[in-house]
């Protein structure tokens, strides 16, 4: 037997296990992973070296943020400067996110020129989390350029394009990184753009989660996108047609009842009371939703939650100015006023420029808006994003075999302690 590391045992906590909060269980950690102590006890006769008393805290997996454009003044789509400086910036953000309980994230790159992608995507490859270097980078979320001009939001219109040559258009736009398995994890596309429906299955084959967003699709085009293999929706309600009673558009996917059986059942939500079949995965995709109370009205969050509770994925969509002290900053060539957690606005106006909310704040807001249970609020930021990427064996769970990214929370879901791969980090 190869020598094993020290065992840490966490006692006296209320642990999120198996869609429930259990009180009479423990968590054992060894070599940065959660282990099943049965084997270490009976086979190796190993007792825990350290015992951590959680003092009754709620114990949750670390939060996963699938959409974040930057933070602390740094933008993931920014390419000015040498590679070392960009790598430093990314690491600075990864470290800072740990303070909010975010232990894994997908850095998001907005619609950009091919040179930007070829420079920045290699820096956003999958990189394990570490207490010294910060949260785990799961891979990049490419939001655009194959999106709708009508729903571009703050994206650069000149770079928006269509996939006239199918997958080759995409390979040209993103560069060689698109072929590597661990670089691009999510891609946001609009299903009504020429050539996209044909390209979706090929993206799925490259292990990329296809997300529908920044789109003016009608309900038929939206459902076609899901049937083609899209398993996620980018910030529901934002950058898509508003719900209309005769053409619900992308939002209408939440009410879809005759979608085909999912081709990737493990990447679809678990069945809920609103699923067509209570025993099979839900054919509807997951949907990201920004829960800062500003981008989406709390009532709209509740409506989405009621119609598709197990598909909800909390995202921040934070912009570069997030988590800075309130004030005016120059970001992306514009003057932006950061107003704390309630968002960033174009200077001198009330036009929303981006969100500044943290993921743990989203979890608390989500619980307050929807009056859901603690389990549901936590799963929306842990299990559901992990399922979206197909990594629920190692992330977003506290089962044996998972990475030991753990949070201690109080009853108000405020962060008390954060562990990355079993190592506690210092909170400010």
């Amino acid at each position: 037997m190869e020598p094993k590391g020290k065992i840490t045992k966490i006692v006296n906590g209320r642990i999120l296990l198996d869609h429930k909060i259990v009180e009479d269980s423990y968590i054992w950690i060894q070599d940065g992973k959660i282990i099943d102590a049965f084997h270490s006890f009976f086979d190796n006769h190993q007792e825990p070296d350290t015992i951590i008393d959680a003092q009754g805290c709620i114990i949750s997996p670390g939060y996963i943020d699938l959409q974040i454009n930057g933070a602390f003044g740094y933008d993931f789509s920014e390419v000015d400067g040498p590679i070392e400086k960009l790598t430093q910036n990314i690491e600075f953000v990864a470290k800072g996110l740990l303070q909010f309980g975010c232990t894994s994230f997908c850095p998001t790159v907005v619609t950009s020129a091919p040179q930007v992608y070829s420079k920045v995507l290699p820096l956003l490859r999958h990189r394990p989390g570490n207490a010294q270097t910060g949260a785990e980078i799961l891979g990049a979320h490419c939001e655009g350029p194959f999106i709708s001009t009508a729903k571009k939001g703050a994206h650069d219109q000149t770079m928006i394009q269509s996939a006239d040559d199918g997958i080759e258009s995409l390979d040209r736009a993103y560069g060689p990184e698109l072929l590597k398995g661990d670089t691009v994890r999510i891609m946001t596309v609009a299903p009504e753009i020429t050539g996209i429906l044909q390209v979706i299955p090929q993206l799925v084959q490259r292990n990329i989660t296809v997300s529908l967003g920044h789109s003016a699709a009608k309900i038929d085009q939206a459902e076609a996108g899901v049937s083609a293999g899209a398993t996620f929706m980018t910030h529901l309600f934002n950058a898509m047609n508003p719900f209309h009673q005769r053409d619900p558009g992308l939002v209408g996917i939440l009410g879809a009842s005759d979608l085909p059986a999912p081709k990737q059942p493990e990447r679809h939500p678990l069945p809920s009371s609103t699923s067509p079949d209570g025993n099979r995965p839900d054919p509807r995709p997951f949907y990201g939703i920004i829960c800062d109370g500003v981008h989406v009205h709390p009532n709209s969050v509740r409506i989405a939650y009621y119609s598709h509770p197990r598909g909800c994925v909390l995202v921040t969509d934070a912009l570069a100015g997030a988590y800075l002290q309130p004030g005016i900053y120059q970001l992306g060539g514009r003057d932006v006023e950061v107003r704390g957690a309630s968002g960033a606005y174009v200077k001198g106006t009330d036009t929303l420029a981006g969100s500044t909310v943290s993921i743990d704040h989203c979890v608390r807001n989500f619980k307050n808006f929807t009056r859901c249970t603690v389990v549901e609020a936590l799963e929306a930021a842990t299990l559901h994003p992990a399922q979206t990427l197909g990594i629920q064996d190692t992330k977003g769970t506290l089962n044996a075999g998972a990475d030991a990214d753990i949070l201690f929370l109080n009853d108000d879901l405020e962060i008390q302690k954060v562990f990355v791969r079993g190592v506690q980090i210092e909170l400010q």
Partner: protein, 330 residues
């Protein structure tokens, strides 16, 4: 044989857990002289195990010098299988207490030579000088461990074929597939259990009432294997009111009256853990008080808090076993 009757399953578990705690603490086990405890699986001991874990976490009981021997294990399924008795004991007891892994003894259902494994187990028990206290539960057919009706009352640890009904009943834990259910099990024999210096059987629930009646009021019989406890010098059965439903009223009243003589006439403070008199001095208690307490207990009335403490008076750990002092509440 002592028969201790309590109101319901929770009180039975509470009593048994206290009893085990006191037995271990009064034994004062050490590395060279560990307390050897025999343990069952199944629904009967679950609450008692939870209570023992609580005692351990509260620091009132330590399993550092307790050696355990489990009664049985399935043949042919891996130790880590969710349905193995190994997993049962881990989930319900061992993971919550401070017992060292080397103190745990289990029959190995995957041994290449099962007969040899049974012999090894018996030898291991003998090496420790025998089992000090064997806890057990029974099935509705009065069987102890896997010694189903018809098992020899002088049997030792051996391989047993499971009864057809048992296999059907267990199928629900193996995805409803009978082919996946183990057909054989290794079990300690009736004589192995009765060789322990003390045997304590937990019998709760109306569905076990017939078994209790057969075991207590009728003869020693291999169709109700737990009846062998009648031949044991230190047998103890702890049951709830529902399990007494098939006993004669006279039997129930008799055993309850013994306890009440202990409590009200002799006084708990004069009695040791096993009902033995600690001092030859006769203690005077007010006759009226004694009679009142006896009648109330017979009627299963609620007692006030101080009176309730008296119930566990005989189960309290005293520094020196033979002292007459009043000790503090558990």
């Amino acid at each position: 044989m002592r028969l201790v009757i309590r109101n319901d399953y929770d009180q039975v578990s509470e009593w048994v857990a206290h009893y085990i705690k006191e037995r271990i603490n009064q034994f004062e086990p050490s590395k060279d002289r560990p307390f050897v405890l025999g343990l069952p699986t199944g629904s009967s001991p679950l609450s008692a195990y939870r209570r023992l874990a609580e005692f351990c976490q509260e620091g009132k009981l330590s399993f550092k010098h307790v050696v355990t021997f489990n009664m049985d294990e399935y043949v042919g399924i891996p130790r880590s299988h969710k349905q193995s008795y190994y997993s049962f004991m881990w989930t319900n007891l061992f993971k919550n207490i401070d017992i060292p892994a080397e103190n745990i003894n289990f029959l190995d259902g995957n041994a290449s030579d099962l007969e040899e494994e049974c012999r090894r187990y018996e030898a291991e028990i003998a090496k420790y000088g025998g089992i000090e206290l064997f806890i057990g539960g029974i099935g509705p057919d009065g069987h102890i461990a896997f010694n189903e009706p018809g098992s020899s009352l002088t049997s030792r640890t051996r391989v047993k074929t499971l009864a057809y009904e048992t296999i059907i009943a267990n199928a629900r834990f193996f995805d409803g597939d009978i082919t996946k259910v183990p057909k054989l099990a290794l079990t300690v024999g009736v004589a192995t259990v009765m060789d322990a210096r003390e045997v304590c059987i937990i019998i709760t629930g109306a569905h076990r009432s017939i078994a209790l009646a057969k075991c207590v009021e009728e003869g020693v019989n291999h169709m109700w294997t737990v009846s062998a406890i009648q031949m044991h010098p230190k047998g103890l059965i702890v049951c709830d009111e529902d399990a007494t439903l098939e006993l004669h009223v006279k039997t129930v009243k008799y055993f309850k009256s013994i306890e009440h003589v202990h409590q009200s006439l002799i006084g708990q403070e004069n009695l040791g853990l096993q009902g033995e008199l600690l001092s030859s001095e006769k203690v005077k208690r007010s006759v009226k008080l004694s009679r009142d307490m006896m009648v109330r207990k017979l009627m299963n009335a609620e007692l006030s808090e101080e009176e309730d403490d008296d119930i566990f008076q005989d189960l309290r750990y005293t520094q020196k076993k033979r002292r007459l002092t009043q000790s503090s509440s558990p």
